[in-house]
Symmetry: C2
Subunit: 222 residues, 2 copies
DNA sequence: TAGATTGTTAATCGATTAACAATC
DNA sequence: TAGATTGTTAATCGATTAACAATC
C-alpha cells in the first residue's frame, strides 16, 4: 500500500535531486540539513518529504547519496527517458528546443511543429520543424509522453485539444492562458510574465515596509 | 491598516488580471464564477481573494471590470512600469529579451549583459548586449527594479551578488540552482526542467492508477 | 559509550470550501 | 418583490515546524 505523496513534496523533489547531482562522486552521504539549505527549506520538512517517498536514512549518519538519487528518480517517474513534442517554433519555442537542461535530464524533444510556412522545413537543434498538420499521423507512428505548448495564447487551447486527442497525457503550457484538458491528462502552466508580476507585488510590499520603517525610525528621539 | 495578502492569493491575482484583459470593451461587470472558471479555482476562493485586496463587488451584480482591473494592477505594484536588466544572452536569455509578453505588461528590459566576446556588442530586440563589467556603472546611472538571470547555473550566484550589490531589489532566476540574496531583496525561481519533472510524477501516478483500474475492471465478471 | 542525526509526534499555521445571510 | 450574487463564517483540509525519543 503506497502512501500518497503530498503535492508540496512532489514540487520539492526535483530540487533535492538537483542538489544530489551537484555533489562530487566522493560524497557518500548527505544530511537532511544539507538538502534543506540547498533547497531553501527546513530540515524537518526534508526528512518528512523523504519519509513520504520511503527513503531509508541512517540515524547519526544521513542518507546514502546514490540510493536517494535513484529513489527520487524512480518516484518522479524518471527511471526511463520521456519523449516530448514541442508545438510553436517562435521565440520561446526555439529557445526551448535548444535548451540543454531538458535533454540532460532525460526529456528528449523528438519533434517540433509550427504552422508558419517560413519556419516549416527549417531545423532547430538538429530537429526539422514540421507542419502542425502532421501531428496526428506522427503521433500514431511514435507516441510521446509530453507536449510543450509555446504558441500564442489564442492557439493554445486548440493545440492542447489536438495533443490530448492524439493521446498525449502530459502538457506543459507556456502560452499565457489557462487551458482545459480531459481528466485523464495533466497540465502544468508556466507563465513568464506572471512570475514578474508576482515579483512586482513583493517589491512594492518591501518598498512600503521599508518606507514605514524609515518613518518609524525618524520618529524616534535622536 | 492594510491586511496582509496571503501568498496564494498574490499568485492568483495575475490570472484574474489576464482574464479581465481578455474581455472585450463592451463587458461592464464580471462575476466571481467567471473569474473562477477562467483561472481554474473555486468561486468562493475568488471572492475571498478579492475581499483581501479590498475589491467592492455589488451583490446580485458582480464586480466592475475596469475598477477591478485597476485595483489588481495597483495591488500588484504595476501602476507604473518597471525596468528590468537581463544577464545572459544565450539561448534562453535571447528569447526572454525578445519576449513580447514582458513589454506588453509593463516590464521594460533596458539592458542585456553577457561575458562572451562573441555576443557582446551585438543587438537583441534593439538592445545592445553589453559586457557584464559595465553592470555596476550602468546601474549607478539608471537604477533598475528587477534583474533576470539567464546564465549557466555556475554563474548564477555571482551574478545575483552583483545585482543585489548594485541595489536591485528583485531577481527572477532561470538558472537551475537556488540562489541566496540579502533579506531586503526578493528572488523568484523558474526552473524549466523542474516543471517537466513534476509533470513526469503525475504522469507516472496517473499511469499506475489507470493500470490498477484496468486490472480491477478485468476482475469483474463479464 | 558519546555524539550525531533520523523519524515521527503533536501543535500550529495557512489555505480551501460549502453554505448562507445580506443586500443589490 | 423575486432573482442573483456578494461577503463572510465556520468547518475542514493540508502543510509546516519544533521538539525529542529512537538509534546508528
Amino acid at each position: 500500500m503506497t502512501r500518497r505523496i503530498p503535492r508540496a513534496t512532489v514540487a520539492r523533489l526535483p530540487a533535492y535531486l538537483r542538489y544530489l547531482d551537484s555533489l562530487g562522486p566522493g560524497r557518500q552521504t548527505v544530511q537532511s540539513s544539507d538538502l534543506a539549505s540547498a533547497s531553501g527549506v527546513n530540515a524537518a520538512k526534508v526528512r518528512k518529504d523523504l519519509s513520504y517517498i520511503g527513503a531509508a536514512g541512517v540515524r547519526g549518519v544521513g542518507y546514502d547519496v546514490e540510493e536517494l538519487r535513484a529513489l527520487i528518480l524512480r518516484k518522479l517517474g524518471l527511471s526511463t527517458d520521456l519523449t516530448v513534442v514541442l508545438v510553436g517554433a517562435g521565440n520561446l519555442g526555439s529557445a526551448l528546443a535548444r535548451y540543454k537542461g531538458f535533454d540532460n535530464r532525460g526529456f528528449h524533444i523528438v519533434s517540433v511543429y509550427d504552422i508558419d510556412p517560413k519556419r516549416v522545413g527549417k531545423r532547430i537543434a538538429g530537429i526539422e520543424i514540421r507542419h502542425l498538420d502532421h501531428l496526428e499521423e506522427d503521433l500514431r507512428q511514435t507516441a510521446a509522453d509530453i507536449g510543450i505548448i509555446a504558441t500564442p495564447a489564442s492557439e493554445a487551447q486548440g493545440v492542447a485539444d489536438r495533443l490530448t486527442g492524439a493521446g498525449i497525457p502530459g502538457i506543459l503550457n507556456f502560452a499565457p492562458t489557462v487551458i482545459n484538458v480531459p481528466a485523464w491528462a495533466t497540465v502544468r502552466q508556466v507563465d513568464l510574465a506572471t512570475e514578474l508580476q508576482i515579483l512586482a507585488f513583493y517589491l512594492r510590499t518591501r518598498r512600503e515596509a521599508g518606507a514605514t520603517q524609515a518613518r518609524t525610525q525618524k520618529r524616534r528621539p535622536g
